[in-house]
């Protein structure tokens, strides 16, 4: 082993041990500081569902599933580098253990282990190729949002140097074994003769098949390096390799690229199993002592784990519309805050933030309010960072300080006062059903199978309320036994939560639970994906246990079981817009598509469909806010343009009451209302089953 030398009178093995001990100590010291900073965050249990966590870890970290299905080049380069990294962890561990133990005990080195040795050898090349490809992507093709930081460059160079030094060390080993110390019987006798003068590099084990290392040796030989020279370079390269490894160990936890360390943890502690269920607000009544205390520890971990890859930025509808918001920048700022404030606090200093508030200062309020909570960023993030909960947490602070714009304030006051966002009397919630034949059943007066929870838009927005009436007629036609909370239904509060008005959300939820408690029903149905999401996932803490379904599922079921049967085949070409809260949040993609297919329309997909669907721009309470200045094009308009690019498209099908209004406006903005009909799934079925307007 190269450690079997004496440097300054001390054995190489001891040097190695010493260096390793010092570097590990620095690493451990820094890591403990970083962990203590995480501990400044609020508590949140992320140890539930251990099996699911382990499975997610296996899939996304070990198998790199999120990378493999992602953007080109990096979809193979990153897994290649990562898997190489895993193999090299084994190789390096053996190197250190073997190097330290060498004077006393021979520990087999990775290049002596058949198969594994060959794999590691090949991975050295694969990683190099991966590094070159990812560097071309980063420095030449540079997708928007991908950062060309010094840190990234240093890390790439260090990894490349690790691979090269490894190959050189392998080459040295090969030269030593084959050219300097090969037994005469194996051949190469003239090399064997040199065995006396050749430094003995390995001497214990025998190298397995190492194509890349061997090739490196031959290239060196061809370049005129003598066999002894190759061996000597190998020894030096071994030490260089060790030195880089140790540098890495010390450098990484200080570097912006520390995602290498933290990303696997971030994935393990991801939000599971349901997506987008926000942590409850801190109701301890205590002001956190630092700004970090506003966030949960997992939110702070997001800062460490962020690779600054910019994927979140590339899918964000707010970014596309020219907003001040960039989810990547928010994470970047959070990372800076965590490192600066966190470490300063550990040292007992006041955070040196020039008195600047993080929320509303470093991260401008406009950016915080620009998010539609569409979850595209969270869904695409390879390290499963949770931008939306972080943004909502910041909104909570702004709301607590009363910093909301006038339009939003009016909406919140309306919600406080009337239980709806529309500034309308609660007594008018079911006005749309006034002339409904047979009327609406009141589930608090007679038992029903299905309780229809309307939501504000389906109840009050003119277009959507009209659709509500059609859906009621379709439900009647299907023989569904349904009713409503004629008195007492309030906004379910999904958007209120995303606005950050947690107290108001809780108040609404309690009022709704009171009303629901008086009703007799088996399941809840709603046409509104926002209402669906919050009732399904966020009302359990208020005691709601009944299943919740979306009307697209009900319509699908009715069409499949024959409770509804199309009387005529509709003509035209339809695209379907996946609402964020139905698709990305809850994975309901197929039922609405099957419903469209059943109506006879030809269904085609827009380029951004299913999990890649593009938000209409209404969610997260955005629909209640004044428009941010400097917006180039609203997301709904961009979405309509996307649909119009499809040849012969006639129908733009929606399954969300908010979408209806958003896209009706957008199609007018584009001036395409005579070409493209915005139609709700319910109305589509209404037409297909041949019901006349009643």
């Amino acid at each position: 082993m190269p450690t079997e030398v004496t440097i300054l009178g001390i054995s190489g093995a001891v040097w190695l041990l010493l260096l390793l001990a010092i570097c590990s100590a620095v690493f451990a010291w820094r890591m403990s500081a970083l962990l203590r900073v995480l501990a400044m965050g609020r508590r949140e249990n992320r140890l539930d569902h251990p099996v699911l966590r382990a499975w997610t870890f296996l899939k996304e970290v070990i198998c790199q599933s999120r990378m493999l299905t992602g953007e080109s080049i990096i979809n193979w380069a990153h897994p290649a580098i990562f898997w190489g990294f895993c193999f090299f962890v084994i190789a390096s561990a053996l190197m250190f253990v073997g190097g330290i133990a060498a004077p006393w005990l021979w520990i087999p080195q990775v290049e002596e282990i058949p198969v594994l040795g060959t794999l590691v050898d090949l991975f050295a090349v694969i990683v190099l190729v991966g590094l070159i490809a990812s560097s071309i992507r980063r420095y030449i093709l540079t997708p928007p949002g991908l950062q060309r930081t010094m840190d990234a460059t240093i890390v790439v160079l260090l990894i490349a140097a690790l691979m090269v030094s490894f190959l050189l060390a392998e080459a040295g080993g090969y030269a030593d074994e084959v050219w300097c110390h090969a037994p005469a019987s194996v051949g190469m006798s003239e090399n064997a003769e040199k065995s006396e003068s050749c430094p003995r590099e390995r001497g214990h084990g025998t190298q397995t098949f190492l194509p890349a290392g061997t090739a490196t040796a031959y290239v060196m030989l061809a370049a005129g390096v003598s066999p002894e020279g190759v061996v000597n370079v190998g020894v030096t390269a071994w030490w260089v390799h060790v030195a880089i490894l140790l540098t890495f160990l010390v450098y990484l936890p200080f570097s912006k690229h520390m995602h290498l360390i933290w990303a696997p943890f971030a994935v393990f502690f991801a939000e599971l199993p349901a997506k987008g269920t926000l942590p409850a607000a801190d109701d301890s009544g205590k002001e956190p002592s630092t700004q970090l205390g506003l966030f949960t520890w997992r939110m702070l971990l997001s800062g460490y784990a962020c690779a600054e890859c910019g994927r979140c930025e590339r899918v964000c509808p707010a970014v596309e519309s020219g907003s001040k918001l960039s989810p990547r920048e928010i994470l970047h700022d959070l990372k800076s805050l965590v490192l600066k404030d966190g470490i300063a606090t550990l040292k007992g200093r006041k955070p040196d933030d020039d008195g600047r508030e993080f929320i509303g200062g470093t991260v401008p309020a406009e950016a915080i309010w620009a998010c539609t909570s569409c979850y595209a960023c969270v869904d695409i993030c390879p390290v499963r960072n949770e931008h939306v909960p972080i943004i909502v947490q910041m909104r909570r602070k702004l709301v607590d300080e009363g910093k909301v714009d006038a339009k939003l304030q009016e909406t919140l006051m309306s919600l406080q006062r009337y239980g709806n966002s529309q500034g309308k009397s609660a007594r008018k919630r079911f006005d749309w059903a006034k002339d409904l034949p047979g009327g609406l059943k009141d589930a608090t007066k007679e038992p029903v199978d299905m309780l229809w929870f309307l939501g504000d838009y389906a109840a009050y927005h003119p277009s959507s309320a009209r659709v509500s009436r059609l859906v009621a007629l379709v439900f009647n036609q299907a023989g569904i036994d349904f009713g409503v909370l004629a008195k007492g239904e309030k906004s379910a509060g999904n958007d209120v939560r995303r606005i950050g008005e947690e107290g108001l959300f809780e108040m609404l939820a309690e009022q709704n639970m009171k009303a629901l408690g008086k009703a007799d029903f088996q399941r809840i149905v709603t046409t509104d994906p926002h209402t669906y999401h919050t009732l399904k996932h966020e009302y359990s803490r208020f005691g709601l246990e009944t299943p919740v379904v979306h009307y697209s599922e009900v319509l699908d079921e009715c069409l499949r079981t024959g409770k509804l049967s199309p009387k005529r085949s509709l003509e035209g070409k339809a695209v379907y817009h996946d609402p964020c809260y139905l698709g990305r949040y809850n994975g309901i993609y197929d039922p609405p598509r099957r419903v469209i297919d059943a109506t006879g329309l030809e269904r085609v997909e827009m380029p951004r469909n299913r999990e890649n669907s593009f938000c209409c721009g209404a969610g997260g309470g955005k629909i209640w806010m004044e428009e941010e200045e400097g917006i180039s094009e609203r997301p709904a308009v961009s979405r309509i343009r996307e649909a119009l690019q499809i040849d012969g498209v006639t129908h733009f099908v929606v399954s969300c009451p908010k979408d209806l209004g958003m896209f009706e406006d957008a199609v007018k903005t584009v001036g395409a209302e005579d070409r493209l009909r915005i139609i709700d799934l319910g109305e589509l079925v209404y037409e297909a089953i041949g019901m006349e307007e009643v």
Partner: protein, 257 residues
């Protein structure tokens, strides 16, 4: 500065208003009440004054309608004391003269240097409450104020707008009563969690008053919803028909040639 803010309840116009069986009054049971908008501005102005120059805010209200909600919200926003004046009649809101007498008695005890009241209410557009209160308190009065700033040596600067876009800036020696039309900034939003916390922590001070209630000289004979005048013509038919008829009418009336 010790500031008293008077808040009133007015019927919420979002909810349908019903006339009661007597046919001469609103059916109070069907009415939802909310804070009078200009009183809300008066409270906001008080909060702004307190924030810029310190002091204490006492909110005074007559116990009628859903006044507790209003008072807890005021406490959540930063009012220091809440004084509630008991009032027995659930069916009839206090008349302005009556209210002024009761409130004046309560305000006297507070020893306020500045009394802020909304300058009118949608059910009392005349805006007599504030001047009546000033009379009872024997304090100077200035109404229709848009913004108040702390001034020098026991005074405030009040801003008042006159027709023709003339703004007056006035120095008002305290104590005084100001009728507020608008605060320097719109009333703030207070999150529900703070209101709920205020509900737990706020104690109302009850202030019985024995003000002599003058009998009104005016009796309401009838109260009713406006009757349609019958002049409206509803256009029906297809879009084209409606458009054609509309064009005809505009021509008939000489709006277009």
């Amino acid at each position: 500065m010790n500031i008293a803010v008077v808040v009133r309840q007015v019927p919420d116009l979002v909810e349908p208003l019903e006339i009661d069986a007597s046919g001469a009054a609103l059916d109070v049971d069907e009415v939802e009440f909310l804070i009078n908008e200009t009183d809300d501005h008066a409270l906001e102005q008080a909060l702004l004054l307190k924030e810029s120059g310190g002091g204490s805010i006492t909110v005074v209200a007559i116990d009628f309608g859903q006044v507790d909600d209003v008072l807890y919200t005021a406490a959540a926003k930063g009012a220091d004391r809440i004084v509630k004046i008991p009032y027995d009649d659930d069916d009839r809101p206090p008349r302005p003269a009556e209210a002024a007498a009761m409130i004046a008695e309560a305000v006297k005890d507070i020893d306020a240097e500045l009394v802020l009241v909304g300058s009118s209410a949608h059910d009392e557009l005349e805006g007599v409450l504030a001047p009546l209160l000033a009379l009872k308190l024997e304090l100077p009065y200035l109404g229709v104020i848009r913004g108040v700033k702390p001034g020098e040596g026991g005074s405030v600067t009040a801003f008042k707008e006159f027709p023709g876009a003339a703004m007056a800036q006035m120095n008002v020696k305290l104590p005084a009563v100001l009728g507020i039309l608008a605060a320097d900034q719109p009333p703030r939003y207070v999150p529900v969690s703070r209101i709920r916390a205020a509900m737990k922590s706020t104690e109302f001070e009850e202030k019985e008053t024995a003000a002599a209630v003058p009998e009104p000289n005016v009796t309401v004979l009838r109260m009713h919803h406006p009757e349609p005048s019958g002049r409206a013509e509803m256009l029906t038919g297809s879009e084209d028909e409606v458009a054609a008829r509309l064009a005809e009418i505009l021509k008939e009336k000489g709006v277009v040639q």
